[in-house]
């Protein structure tokens, strides 16, 4: 391990139960997919070392339980996050409709000082399903992301490893920018625009 001070980026994955949060994290970190993930209780934690533009960072990814009541445990845990990933399942309309409440809940519990500029990344997962099972269109999702403040939006398949790497690359960049903005300015001076477009991003903004 180098003696250089490593940057830690704390990333929280939120979203309804069964949308594929664990699968996304596992795909990103271990490059694997399994039908055999158990329901997550509380939270699971995995670290990942990355290099972003020559900068060494460690992403601390927290995978959470999706059932609503688990939010009561969130208070201390959301604090100090650098980026929040909101996941929904494109075959499940309700999981999409709940995105906003996940976001609001996070902002309140994490006690974010500047909610308008906190980086969220939205992921619509399970795009590997047959077209007729898809309930949330890309257009609809993009519209929501635009209305929530031009949030980057990705459509992924954790199962077939589609777009996962790209999505988390943007997550890492957003988180790094957030972390640096906090480090260099205790108070928010001019808001850092976290609008980052990944190459394969279907971001509507």
């Amino acid at each position: 391990m180098s003696n250089r001070r490593k940057t830690i980026l704390k990333v929280i994955i939120l979203g309804d139960s069964g949308v594929g949060k664990t699968s996304l994290m596992q795909q990103f970190i271990n490059g694997k997919f399994s039908q055999q993930y158990k329901a997550t209780i509380g939270a699971d934690f995995l670290p990942k070392d990355m290099t972003i533009d020559d900068k060494q960072v460690t992403m601390q990814i927290w995978d959470t339980a999706g059932q609503e009541r688990f939010q009561s445990l969130g208070v201390a845990f959301y604090r100090g996050s650098d980026c929040c990933v909101l996941v929904f399942d494109v075959t499940n309309t309700k999981s999409f409709e709940n995105l906003q409440s996940w976001r609001d809940e996070f902002l309140i519990q994490a006690n974010i000082k500047d909610p308008d500029n906190f980086p969220f990344v939205v992921i619509g997962n399970k795009i590997d399903v047959e077209e007729n099972k898809r309930m949330v269109s890309a257009k609809k999702a993009q519209a929501l992301c635009a209305s929530l403040g031009n949030l980057p939006y990705f459509e992924t398949s954790a199962k077939e490893a589609v777009n996962v790497e790209q999505a988390f690359d943007v997550v890492a960049r957003c988180a790094l920018q957030q972390e640096e903005s906090l480090e260099y300015s205790d108070d928010y001076t001019d808001a850092v625009n976290i609008h980052v477009d990944g190459d394969n991003s279907t971001c509507g903004c």
Binding site: G18, K38, I41, G42, F45, Q67, F77
Partner: protein, 541 residues
């Protein structure tokens, strides 16, 4: 590993020697997944769910529902017999033992699964590690089974022909020792039920379960939807929870939902109706699932009720306040019993941990996230299967203090690893260190295959067995009171109309206020206890 040494003495009877001689042979049959389901003429769909992977709904008639319910219960019986057979230690039956050895030599060593149908290997334990442990542990099991049989006979409860006893001797120091050393797997269901006073519950609630099954048969609501999502995510790696592939006469292979999953669905649905204050809470699926491997569905249901009201009160409630309370108790226990560990896992600069304040009780540290499932799933998925089962043995015999004793033991055993990280002389910042500590806390328990070592650490080498139920109850009460006092304080103040930005400042000041005015410090449960003990000792002198 003193248990292994002890085994080396080799009691010269009942075929064990031949087992030892033949090296890795052990008398455990393998569970196969070729359970034949009695064919029924009605559709193969079950309880309104087609054979689809995700349980898509097909409207089916009530009559069909009953037919499939009956069928699923029968198949479950078959599975349970099969599991029972594979768990049986058969120390009492020399001939049978020999036959098994001939037919299924080294069965578990040569299989990818343990005797409960779980995969032996996972991300934290390799098959080789499992086998190494199993070679000696299986011998230990045979020895324990014989001791249990002797002990039962001495208490006038002879066991015969591999029939699991339904009654056990009265509580005693000696029986407690037996339980701590492990209940024979094939007796476990009965023993848990007996020690948790399940029959009492069953007697008081005759026919209630059947009525609930009836009432929930066609029900669809938030709870049942959440249950559907979790059924296939309960024990996906366990063979009994997998869909069953059936080859039909025309050669077509269809998948049928495993009877165990169907039963799990019923138990969870009934529970959500029976306990509306809990409904369905994730993690209940694991508890109910593990229970179902050991007992029929009605008894599993009542055990779930007993667990949620007696052993883990409040843990699965809608606001999960019980989890927070238990986390608070664990933190107090850590501070009291393992001050070194406590010193490593808390940030000394954090105002929450400063002398005199117990602010961490209502502002729980992020560390608590790693231990959530220790309470919510009673160590399922946290500890290896056999280790979890041994903890459950103690839990049902000894009460909820077991959970804290085991939690402390886990922390004690991981202390060297925590030290390795905490003592490292680096210029890495605190945040980085704590992320490594987190990982240890998360991953270390998953490797605790050597359950005998863990139990010895808990009950012999450490003083955790001195943690009494009374102490735990008092401590819980203390945490509940501090938390509600704090919440009231916050409520009162925010009612006056303060901005969110001032809240943090207020929380800080309320902590000191609380300490000075209400005198939390004097209430400190263990401080008071220590003081009393000191006085007592002084008197005795």
């Amino acid at each position: 590993m003193s248990n292994v040494k002890a085994l080396g003495n080799g009691t010269p009877n009942l075929g064990i020697d031949t087992l030892v001689d033949s090296g890795s042979t052990e008398p455990f049959t393998l569970i196969s997944n070729d359970i034949s389901i009695p064919p029924t003429d009605s559709s193969s769909s079950t309880l309104g769910y087609t054979n689809g992977k995700r349980g898509r709904r097909n409207p089916i008639t009530r009559k069909e529902s009953y037919a499939s319910l009956k069928k699923s219960r029968t198949s479950l019986e078959l599975i349970r017999n099969k599991i029972g057979e594979s768990m049986a230690t058969r120390s009492d039956d020399k001939i049978h033992l020999k036959r098994i050895n001939r037919t299924t030599k080294n069965s578990i060593l040569h299989s990818g699964r343990d005797r409960y149908g779980f995969k032996k290997a996972n991300n934290h334990i390799s098959e080789g590690e499992y086998d190494n442990w199993w070679v000696s542990y299986s011998q230990y099991l045979i020895k324990r089974k014989k001791k249990w049989e002797k002990m039962m006979a001495k208490n006038g409860l002879p066991t015969a022909n591999n029939v699991a006893p339904t009654r056990f001797p009265p509580r005693s120091e000696s029986l407690r020792k037996f339980v701590r050393k492990g209940i024979p797997a094939e007796w476990r269901g009965n023993a848990w039920f007996y020690f948790a006073r399940g029959s009492e519950k069953l007697r008081e609630n005759k026919d209630v379960y059947d009525r609930l099954v009836d009432q929930t048969m066609d029900i669809i609501n938030e709870n049942t939807e959440a249950i559907e999502k979790d059924l296939h995510r309960t024990f996906p790696e366990n063979i009994h929870f997998k869909n069953i592939r059936i080859q039909q006469a025309n050669g077509e292979v269809i998948e049928e939902e495993s009877p165990l999953l169907q039963t799990l669905r019923r138990v969870l649905k009934c529970f959500s109706l029976y306990r509306p204050s809990i409904g369905y809470c994730q993690s209940l699926n694991f508890i109910a699932g593990l229970l179902l491997i050991y007992m029929d569905e009605e008894r599993a249901f009542w055990m779930l009720v007993i667990i949620s009201e007696r052993y883990l009160p409040g843990i699965h409630d809608f606001n999960l306040e019980g989890v927070n309370v238990h986390q608070g108790v664990l933190l107090l226990c850590l501070r009291q019993y393992l001050p070194d560990v406590w010193g490593m896992i808390v940030d000394k600069n954090d105002v929450r941990y400063q002398e005199g304040t117990n602010a961490f009780l209502y502002d729980l540290p992020a560390l608590s996230f790693c231990t959530t499932s220790w309470f919510m799933s009673i160590f399922i998925g946290v500890l290896p299967t056999e280790t979890t089962l041994r903890v459950w043995d103690c839990l049902f015999y000894e009460d909820s203090k077991t959970i804290f004793q085991i939690a402390l033991t886990i922390f004690k055993m991981m202390e060297p690893e925590l030290h390795r990280i905490a003592d490292r002389d680096t210029n890495e910042d605190e945040e980085f260190l704590s992320s490594e500590l987190f990982q240890v806390i998360q991953n270390f328990p998953k490797k605790l295959l050597d359950v005998n070592r863990m139990m010895e650490e808990c009950f012999r080498f450490s003083n955790f067995s001195k943690l009494t139920q009374d102490e735990v109850v008092k401590c819980k009460q203390y945490v509940i009171e501090s938390r509600s006092r704090y919440h009231n304080l916050i409520k009162k103040r925010s009612a006056i109309g303060l901005k969110e930005s001032d809240r943090k400042e207020l929380i800080k000041s309320s902590e000191t206020l609380e300490n000075k005015k209400i005198g939390l410090k004097a209430l400190n449960w263990n401080g008071k206890l220590n003081h009393r003990m000191r006085r007592l000792r002084h008197k005795l002198r």
